[in-house]
Structures are given as structure tokens and as C-alpha cells.
């Protein structure tokens, strides 16, 4: 069984995004970029599937600028087999990403595609279900546990009320949530080994996908600022403020 894992290169989760003064977007010059944290979880899951004999081949794909190759290398160093880099300098919308991924799925024939539940830059949370719909596959989003039983996949999902388990006919799309696993660090020998693993170079045009954006970004603004608060000395003062100043208890 082949497993495909799409990964996105995003602003590192420890870095606070800064809005550009001309309101054209977020400033990404000279900031640390990393693999989307949910995608690290997807990569880890795919590698574990291979280690346990569930997966026969693991393929990582990233759609993005030249440096997205580094993100692919990271996934290869974590243990995936080979990569596909679809190079574009546009930050494509989930619909365009899902269409390219569908073309890759058609060409590669994986039985499971594991995506992150959301990319922490644009916070869309849309690509996984979009891909599932384009393929007419079932989906298990927000996965907390994944188990393959014969021709079906059992996915325990993190939902608003607690946990829900669904059974999916394969092939299927899964999106990962935080508690699925703890991603490993790549060891030095594996980083060296990853340098020899193949990465296919592609462009969106190779897949015949129209990637024109559907949403026009009119401007990107700072969120409303909160006014500075105060420190209180003790619990009695806190209770007094909440009762008599804020009127919330």
C-alpha cells in the first residue's frame, strides 16, 4: 500500500507573524520557516505505517517555492522514501492545492493520503476534505488514532464533543490532529541518507491545473489591540476588581 503525504512550508510556529506596513500581507522576509506542525505528524504516521509493514512506499509532496525542497528533505530524513516538488512562488489556495494533489493521486495510486488538519499560516483547514471530495473518497479528519483492518481504515477523530470513531472504505483521506503521535527528530545518518533520495521536480502546469486565486486579498490588517491591563496584589483585590470594576462576577 502506498501512502502519500502533502506537506507545506510555513512560518515557524514559534514566530509571531508581523503585518507589513503597506497592509499587503504578512512579512516573511528573514523569518524562520518550517514544516507545518500537523504535516510533521502526518510524516511520522506514514513512517510508522512503513515500519509496521502497513505501508509499502511513502511519498512526500510539497507545492511551493524552491525552498520547499528543504521541507521535503526533512520528511525524507524522517524516513519517507521519495519526494515530489511542485514548484510555484504563489501561495496557492486549498482548492488549487487539492486539484494538483488529485492529479498526483491519479498518477501515483496511493491508498491513503495523510494531510494536516490545517496549515498554521492561512488557517484554512480545507485541503484534506477538498481532496477527498474531488476523488470521491471517504475521509477521517482530525485523526487521533488510525488503524488499518484489511480493506478498511478505522479513524478515531477529535471532535467538539469528545472522540468519534469512523470506519472508512479504502482508499481514503485522513487529516491529522495533535494527539496522533509525537514526530521524531531526524538522526544525522538519516539526514545524510535523505540527500540521496529522489525528488521529482514538477510545476502546476504539468498537471494542467488552473491555479488562479478565487479570493482577492484586499488588505491584511493588525488585529484589534487590547488595552494594557494591571497587576493585582492579591486574591481579595482580584475579586473586588471583578465584582466592582468589571462587573463580571
Amino acid at each position: 500500500m502506498k501512502v502519500l503525504v502533502p506537506v507545506k512550508r510555513v512560518l515557524d510556529y514559534n514566530v509571531k507573524a508581523r503585518v507589513k506596513s503597506d497592509q499587503s500581507g504578512v512579512d516573511l522576509s528573514n523569518v524562520k520557516m518550517s514544516m507545518n506542525p500537523f504535516d510533521e505528524i502526518s510524516v511520522e504516521e506514514a513512517v510508522r505505517m512503513q515500519e509496521s509493514g502497513t505501508a509499502s512506499e511513502t511519498i512526500v509532496v510539497s507545492i511551493g517555492p524552491a525552498r520547499a525542497r528543504e521541507t521535503i528533505r526533512t520528511a525524507l530524513a524522517m524516513g519517507m522514501d521519495r519526494g515530489i516538488h511542485v514548484q510555484t512562488d504563489e501561495d496557492l489556495e486549498p482548492l488549487a492545492v487539492a486539484k494538483i494533489l488529485k492529479a498526483i493521486v491519479d498518477a501515483e495510486g496511493p491508498e491513503i493520503v495523510i494531510l494536516g488538519k490545517q496549515a498554521i499560516d492561512n488557517d484554512y483547514g480545507a485541503t484534506g476534505p477538498m481532496l477527498a471530495a474531488l476523488l470521491d473518497w471517504p475521509q477521517g479528519t482530525f485523526a487521533n488514532t488510525i488503524e488499518k483492518n484489511g480493506a478498511s481504515l478505522s479513524v478515531k477523530r477529535e471532535v467538539d464533543g469528545g472522540l468519534q470513531t469512523v470506519k472508512l472504505e479504502l482508499p481514503a483521506v485522513v487529516t491529522t490532529d495533535l494527539r496522533l503521535n509525537e514526530p521524531r527528530y531526524a538522526s544525522l545518518p538519516n539526514i545524510m541518507r535523505a540527500k540521496k533520495k529522489p525528488i521529482d521536480a514538477k510545476t502546476p502546469g504539468d498537471y494542467g491545473v488552473d491555479t488562479a486565486p478565487r479570493l482577492k486579498v484586499l488588505k491584511v490588517t493588525e488585529p484589534p489591540a487590547r488595552k494594557a491591563g494591571i497587576k493585582v496584589e492579591n486574591v481579595a483585590m482580584l475579586v473586588d476588581k471583578l465584582k466592582n470594576e468589571a462587573g463580571v462576577i
Partner: protein, 308 residues
């Protein structure tokens, strides 16, 4: 312009997130219908019909919709969309699960978790954990929108809409429900509560969460948590507040033993009044707290509970 709203409910109770989504739709302008999709949802449909400003309730009552799984919801909503120019749903896990499927089937880009509606095609949505707000204009012929309901007021009652039953979803579907483990609690729902009290890694154990719960029960509050507290197994996953958990905006949010990482702030910084209790005076949570108390939580929280 005709807008379809998808109701948030558990087959028994219509949730206020629905009313707030109606408020968001009103800012787009046009006729508003509400879809109630579920099993044995006559009661929920009757409640939806009372929402002020709703033209019609469309009800789809079928066993395959009992858990509102993505595949069957996609089928129902997509079939309805030749009648509508836009579809809006709350950004809870139920709807964020299938709305992108609907968008893909209609060949439109979903506009996720909007906190502002400027007009029928222009929306404001937080990006980068709420550190930036994107103002986006959609050129798609139909709009598929999920709504961050904490950013909108509720819509009152007074409506008297008709309920139209529609035909069953066209299965079979390739996914089936197996089981669920729902978190039981008598406390208010996190996303609905006037007061939310959240605990973080500083609480130290699942047993220690009892001191948070005691304060919550005294104040009639909901209990939330940081990711670290969930990861450590102190509380269930559905307690997580933040960028990748729930968004809350109560009148009062009390963060206890939480440092204030950007991912946590993303889910609570729109609360009206924020209180932080932390023993580290440099914890970033104090930068957004209206009232900060530098103290050991094991001493301060029981004292707090005693005092209110």
C-alpha cells in the same frame, strides 16, 4: 440573493451557534433559509423556524445524517445548492469536516472562519493564529463560508417560517459511524459560557484539575485547557482552547497556569475581560490580561473559590 445556513444541533437541541450564523448571513443581505440535517429533528426544525428573519427551514431527516458524517452532509448540501448563492455554517468540527467538500464539489474556494462580513462577497478572517486579519473578496459565483460564531451576536426569535421536508441523501456512503466517547459534563458548553476558566501545564495533574473545577462550579463557568494540559492527559481533547482547538469569547476568561503561547491566545483573546494567574511574572499571558495575579495557583485558586 438566497443564503443557506446549516443548523448546529445534536438532533434534540438547536444550538445558539445557528442564530449567530444567521446574524453573519444578515450582513450579506438576502433571503435566509436554514437547513436542519439529522435524525428525528422535528423539534430542532420547529426551533429553527422561530429564528427572526428566517424565510424557510429545509429539513432532511434520515438515519445516515444522525452523526452528520461528511460524506452524507456533502451530498445533502451540494444537492441543495442550485437554489442558493451562498452557504454558511458555524466553524465547529461538525461543519469544518464537510464544508470544504461542498466547496470543492461546487468548484469554489471556501472562506474559513470569518469574523467579519463586509458585504455579500467580502469577508474578514484571522490568519496566522489571529496575528493578522485578511480582508478577502471572493470572485466565485457561490460562496462557501464557515463562521467563527464567537465574533457575532445572536439573532433573537419571533420568526414563524415554514418547514419543507426534502428528499433523503443519495447514499450509500463509503464511511460509517462506529462509536463515540463524548465528554460528560453538567457545566455550560465551552463556546457558549459567560465565564470560562482554563488550566494549563501548571496544574500538574488530572487530579489537580479539581481545584479549577471547584472554582468553575462556584462561578457557573465552563472549563477549558491549553494544549499542554490536554497532551499531558489532564483533561479530554475537547477542552482545548486555541488556534487549533476551540475559540471562545466569554465575558470573563480566567487562565490559570497557562503561559500564553500565541496558539493559546488565538482562541481566547477576544474575551471581554481576561484574568491570568501565573507564578511567573514575565509570562506572556500577562500582556493581554486585564487583571494579572502573580501567585502560586495552588494557593490563589482555592482562596479565590472561597472568596466568591
Amino acid at each position: 440573493m438566497a443564503i443557506l445556513i446549516i443548523a448546529e444541533h445534536d438532533n434534540t437541541v438547536l444550538k445558539d451557534a445557528t442564530h449567530k450564523t444567521v446574524t453573519a448571513a444578515k450582513a450579506m443581505g438576502g433571503d435566509i433559509d436554514v437547513l436542519v440535517a439529522g435524525k428525528d429533528v422535528e423539534g430542532v426544525s420547529a426551533e429553527a423556524a422561530k429564528i427572526e428573519g428566517v424565510r424557510k427551514v429545509v429539513a432532511c431527516d434520515h438515519i445516515s445524517l444522525k452523526r452528520q458524517l461528511a460524506e452524507s452532509m456533502e451530498s445533502v448540501v451540494v444537492d441543495l445548492m442550485d437554489r442558493y448563492d451562498a452557504v454558511l455554517a458555524p466553524d465547529t468540527t461538525t461543519h469544518t469536516n464537510y464544508m470544504p467538500r461542498v466547496a470543492a464539489r461546487l468548484d469554489v474556494q471556501q472562506i474559513s472562519s470569518v469574523t467579519g462580513v463586509e458585504n455579500a462577497d467580502t469577508f474578514v478572517r484571522p490568519i496566522y493564529a489571529g496575528n493578522a486579519m485578511a480582508h478577502v473578496q471572493s470572485s466565485d459565483p457561490k460562496k462557501v463560508v464557515t463562521v467563527r460564531t464567537t465574533a457575532f451576536d445572536t439573532t433573537g426569535e419571533g420568526g414563524d417560517a415554514d418547514v419543507e421536508a426534502i428528499s433523503d441523501p443519495s447514499g450509500p456512503f463509503k464511511a460509517e459511524f462506529v462509536s463515540e466517547e463524548l465528554t460528560e459534563s453538567d457545566r455550560p458548553e465551552l463556546t457558549d459560557a459567560n465565564i470560562v476558566i482554563s488550566g494549563g501545564r501548571g496544574i500538574g495533574s488530572s487530579e489537580n484539575f479539581a481545584i479549577i473545577e471547584a472554582l468553575a462550579d462556584k462561578l457557573g463557568a465552563a472549563v477549558g485547557a491549553s494544549r499542554a494540559a490536554v497532551d499531558a492527559g489532564y483533561v479530554p481533547n475537547d477542552y482545548q482552547v486555541g488556534q487549533t482547538g476551540k475559540s471562545v469569547a466569554p465575558d470573563l476568561y480566567i487562565a490559570i497556569g497557562i503561559s500564553g503561547a500565541i496558539q493559546h491566545l488565538a482562541g481566547m483573546k477576544d474575551s471581554r475581560v481576561i484574568v491570568a494567574i501565573n507564578k511567573d511574572e514575565d509570562a506572556p499571558i500577562f500582556q493581554i490580561a486585564d487583571y494579572g495575579l502573580v501567585a502560586d495557583l495552588f494557593k490563589a485558586v482555592p482562596e479565590f473559590t472561597e472568596a466568591v
